[in-house]
């Protein structure tokens, strides 16, 4: 495997409803990441983006985003209809596949403010048997949370602790949206959205965007970049979707991806987990066997800011950022997609 590092990233603060158009959001993060990387815009060997059309209800939303990045002269470019974390995987693999390529930029954008996101996500389900009932994404997550409570290993207090902790940590993240000092009691007495999920255990609806630059060892050396976050393991796995055919209390795909990426929970300083719902962090911690010494979600995670199609790549940006700032030697970024943690990705990075 070739040595590839995350060397720069940029994001815009997550907001309930951004005044910026998609194009402006993308323009800001792409230009921001390029400037931080010190690489000329024309020198990128590969571009890849992630987004989802159904969020705005219009086909080809990524086409207008291409107007924002200065794609002239023509660029080598691709797009996944997924969270940007998978676009990063594609870009990383592209650099693995061709030793002549040295740097790539990945970006993603998503606006939760345009449409009814929980209902839109019901269109991800089985179109014959499930979508006609319109189970929204919060209800689907709530069925998973109930299974966890029924399993007896966790109580609702554990959900509350996760929520309170993430919002508290998010206070130091200038890009976070929903942060503050809440008490466990406050969280546990909040209104139900879909029982047993109360308001505090659910993510905010966010608009956001982020971009990330990766480069080969040759390019890192050429740039004299001081604190690259070397990608040491990168893997993603999927499970069957239907809630009735899998164990909702564990995450087999996270466990597998983590093992293949060499996550080794006890060796990590930081783990940024994409757990939009509080109970999902508990499932992910188990799947990745994270020990008590690991700092989980110092950014506040998806409970503090959850721009859809972006929040996964944000976890990798935040984990890489901890390495760039010298706060971590070894960090993990995780992303999830699909109902109730159906699909999961793990990226393990290390300092020099």
């Amino acid at each position: 495997m070739r040595d590839i590092a995350v060397i720069a990233s940029a994001q815009i603060p997550s907001e309930r409803r951004s005044d910026l158009s998609e194009i402006e959001m993308v323009q800001k993060v792409v230009t921001g990441a390029i400037e931080k990387s010190g690489i000329d815009r024309r020198a990128f060997d590969f571009w890849c983006s992630g987004s989802a059309d159904m969020l705005c209800g219009r086909p080809f939303s990524f086409v207008s985003a291409l107007d924002a990045i200065g794609a002239w002269p023509p660029i080598r470019e691709s797009h996944v209809e997924m969270d940007g974390a998978w676009a990063l995987y594609e870009a990383w693999l592209k650099l693995q596949s061709d030793p002549g390529l040295h740097c790539a930029i990945v970006y993603c954008f998503g606006q939760s403010s345009l449409g009814p996101v929980p209902d839109i996500l019901a269109t991800q389900l089985d179109p014959y048997y499930e979508t006609p009932l319109w189970p929204d994404s919060i209800s689907v997550a709530a069925i998973q949370a109930r299974a966890l409570l029924d399993g007896g290993r966790y109580t609702e207090r554990d959900f509350a602790e996760v929520a309170v902790e993430n919002r508290r940590r998010g206070k130091s993240n200038p890009n976070a949206q929903l942060t503050g000092d809440f008490s466990i009691e406050e969280a546990m007495s909040g209104p139900y959205i879909s029982s047993p999920l109360r308001k505090h255990y659910c993510p905010p609806l966010s608009d956001g965007a982020c971009a990330i630059v990766i480069a080969s060892r040759e390019k890192v050396d050429e740039l004299g970049f001081a604190a690259p976050a070397w990608i040491r393991g990168f893997d993603h796995r999927v499970e069957a979707q239907s809630l009735g055919v899998r164990d909702l209390t564990s995450s087999a795909s996270t466990q597998l991806a983590g093992r293949r990426a060499g996550a080794r929970g006890d060796s990590l300083d930081v783990a940024e987990l994409h757990a939009p719902f509080a109970h999902q962090e508990l499932i992910l911690r188990e799947a990745l066997e994270l020990g008590g010494s690991v700092s989980v979600n110092p950014s506040g995670g998806a409970l503090a800011a959850n721009p859809i199609m972006v929040a996964g790549l944000l976890r990798i940006c935040e984990a890489a950022g901890a390495i760039h700032r010298g706060e971590a030697k070894r960090a993990l970024g995780h992303a999830t997609s699909g109902p109730a943690l159906q699909q999961n990705l793990v990226c393990v990075m290390e300092a020099n």
Binding site: E24, G57, I69, Q111, S113
Partner: protein, 166 residues
């Protein structure tokens, strides 16, 4: 619903009905307000001097933010066109109609709109046209404020003058 209530089910209808609230963003807002409130066409200048209409959030060529707003003429040249003979679901216009790329005077790339005021087979590349606006009290936040473009009476433009804008 089954198509045939008696026989085996082979096809079902599954409706989707999702309500969105779409934002125009600052640049399209500038453009659309110009149409409705001032009967004017506003674009923006890009960092390399081109004028984009409708204006957009970034320069497609450089990836940099756009600069100041620029008013563009409502007269222009048809660079190319086609004659639409096919009804489109959700489309209010009745075929046949001429759909054209029009480079407005002062703009650096064409805008797409309909041409009327001529027989459909008289449409041609290089034809000079001007906007036919709706009455002031019927203007809307949309390019529909312009009913269509129609011949302006000016002589046709030289092919060389617009061949870079096809």
């Amino acid at each position: 619903m089954s198509e045939d209530a008696q026989g085996p089910i082979t096809m079902i209808r599954t409706p989707v009905d999702l309500e969105y609230n779409i934002s125009a963003g600052p640049d399209l807002t500038l453009f659309l307000r110009g149409l409705k409130e001032e009967k004017k066409l506003y674009g923006r200048r890009s960092p390399n001097g081109d004028v984009y209409i409708p204006p957009r959030g970034a320069c497609p060529v450089t990836g940099q933010p756009m600069l100041e707003e620029v008013e563009v003429s409502d007269h222009g040249t048809v660079t190319t066109f086609c004659l639409i003979n096919i009804p489109i679901e959700g489309q209010e216009l009745k075929p046949p109609y001429v759909f054209a790329a029009i480079i407005l005077d002062g703009a650096s790339l064409p805008l797409f709109h309909m041409i009327a005021g001529i027989a459909a087979d008289e449409a041609r590349m290089g034809m000079r046209v001007k906007a036919n606006w709706k009455p002031d009290d019927e203007l809307v936040l949309s390019l529909e404020s312009i009913n269509y473009f129609e011949p302006s009476g000016e002589p046709d433009a030289d092919y060389d003058s617009y061949k870079e804008h096809l």
